[in-house]
Symmetry: C2
Subunit: 226 residues, 2 copies
C-alpha cells in the first residue's frame, strides 16, 4: 500500500479504496487491511477524514516563502519540522560576471560565497548558494552559518533585507544536484533566484537555490489590487 | 551557435565568447562570425550590451501571475506576445471527489469542465483544466472560450474572482503532457493548482495547469510585512 502511495497510484488528497476492496486487491483479510491502514495513518501516509474515508496525505512541505520574507529555519520550525544546515563552503572570492551584475558591483569586486545544504526532518530539502558583497561586511567571515541565518546576520550588520525579488524556474536535476539532494538524475526540481534589497534599495543578497521537487510545494494567496 | 544556446552550453544571461574565439571554435572567418551573431541578435537569441559584450537572451516568458490576478491573454499581450487558445473540451459533468472538495460542492453536484491549451507566439505554453460550479451559471455553456476569458465571464455573471490561492509544484511531463506541450517525456514542468474565490469567499474556480518548464519563468516581489 505504501509503495502504491509512493509511486502515485494512490494519489495525494484522494480516498483510498474501501477496506473490502483493499482486502481483495492484496489478497489479505480485512483485519490485516485495517491494521496496515492504521500503521500508515500513524506513519503520516494516510489520514482519516470524518464521513469521507481515508485519504492519502500530502507529503510535500508546503512553503510560504513566496509571500513572506522569513528564514528557512523559522518557516520550517513553524511547521513542526526539525531543521539542520550543512555549510558546504564559505569563502570570499572575486565576483563572477553573473554575481557582479546581480549585486550591482564593480568589476573585480569581492563577495562572500556561502553554499549550504538545508534539511527538514533529516531529509535534504534545498541546496542554496548565496552571494553577499564583501566590502561593508568584513565580519561576516566569522559567523557560523550552521547555527545562524544569513538574514539575521545581515540585519545585525544594519543591512536588513526588506524587499525580495524572486524568479522561479524548473529544471531537471544534474548529476551533482542528484547526489546532493538524494534524488534521481533528471528528477524535476525548483530552481529559484533571489535578489534581496535593504530599505535603501541596495541589493545585499543574491541566491541561487535548488529545491527538491518531490517534497516541496509553494502556496500563496493573491488579492485583487483595488 | 544557436544549438549551443539551445542546449545551454552558452548560458542565458552570460557573455558569449569573443569574436576571435568564436572564429576559432567554428573554424570560420571573423566577418562570418560577426554576421552570424547579428542574425542571432535579430532573432532574439542574443543581445548586445554596452561595454560588456554580447549576452545570451533569456528566452523564457517572465510571468507575473504569482502576484496579479489577470487573464492569460492580458498578461501575455502586455509582453507583446500574440496569444491563442484552443478549447480541447468543454462540457458539464458530475464533479469528481477532488473537484467536489476543491469547490466545496455537495456529493453528485455538476460542474463545467473546461480544458484549454494556450499559446504564445504560436508555441504551446500551458495546458489548463478548469472546473466551475454548474448550478448558478447555466449560461456559461454558450460561451466561446477560444475568444473569451473565464475570469471575464465569471465577472459578467456577478461572480468576479477577487482572491486566488495557488499551489506550485513541479513534475516530469508524462506522455500526454509531452504531446500536448511539444516537449520531451520527463521534461520538467510547472504544475499549478488554483482556487479562485469571489468577494463573498465562495470558490468559483478550481484549475489544474501544466506550464512548460523550458519557456516559462515566474517573477515576483515580496515586501516585508510591517
Amino acid at each position: 500500500m505504501r509503495s502504491k502511495i509512493q509511486n502515485g497510484e494512490f494519489q495525494e488528497g484522494h480516498l483510498i479504496p474501501k477496506e473490502v476492496e483493499l482486502a481483495a486487491l492484496f489478497q489479505v483479510s480485512r483485519p490485516t487491511v485495517r491494521q496496515a491502514v492504521q500503521e500508515l495513518v500513524n506513519q503520516g501516509y494516510l489520514e482519516k477524514r470524518k464521513r469521507r474515508g481515508t485519504i492519502v496525505t500530502s507529503r510535500k512541505i508546503s512553503q510560504e516563502f513566496t509571500h513572506v520574507i522569513e528564514s528557512y529555519n523559522k518557516e520550517m520550525n513553524s511547521k513542526g519540522l526539525t531543521t539542520a544546515t550543512q555549510v558546504l563552503s564559505f569563502r570570499s572570492e572575486q565576483a563572477s560576471a553573473e554575481v557582479q551584475a546581480a549585486l550591482g558591483l564593480d568589476h573585480g569586486a569581492k563577495v562572500y560565497r556561502l553554499e549550504r545544504l538545508r534539511f527538514a526532518n533529516e531529509q535534504p530539502v534545498v541546496w542554496v548558494t548565496s552571494f553577499v558583497p564583501f566590502r561593508p561586511l568584513p565580519k561576516l567571515g566569522q559567523v557560523d552559518f550552521t547555527q545562524q541565518s544569513l538574514y539575521t546576520e545581515l540585519a545585525k550588520a544594519q543591512h536588513k533585507i526588506v524587499r525580495v525579488r524572486r524568479k522561479l524556474e524548473v529544471m531537471a536535476a544534474d548529476e551533482s544536484t542528484s547526489v546532493m539532494l538524494h534524488i534521481a538524475v533528471n528528477a524535476p526540481i525548483f530552481y529559484f533566484h533571489t535578489w534581496g534589497a535593504t530599505v535603501s534599495g541596495e541589493i545585499f543578497e543574491y541566491s541561487v537555490a535548488k529545491y527538491r521537487g518531490d517534497i516541496n510545494s509553494f502556496q500563496f494567496e493573491i488579492n485583487q489590487r483595488s
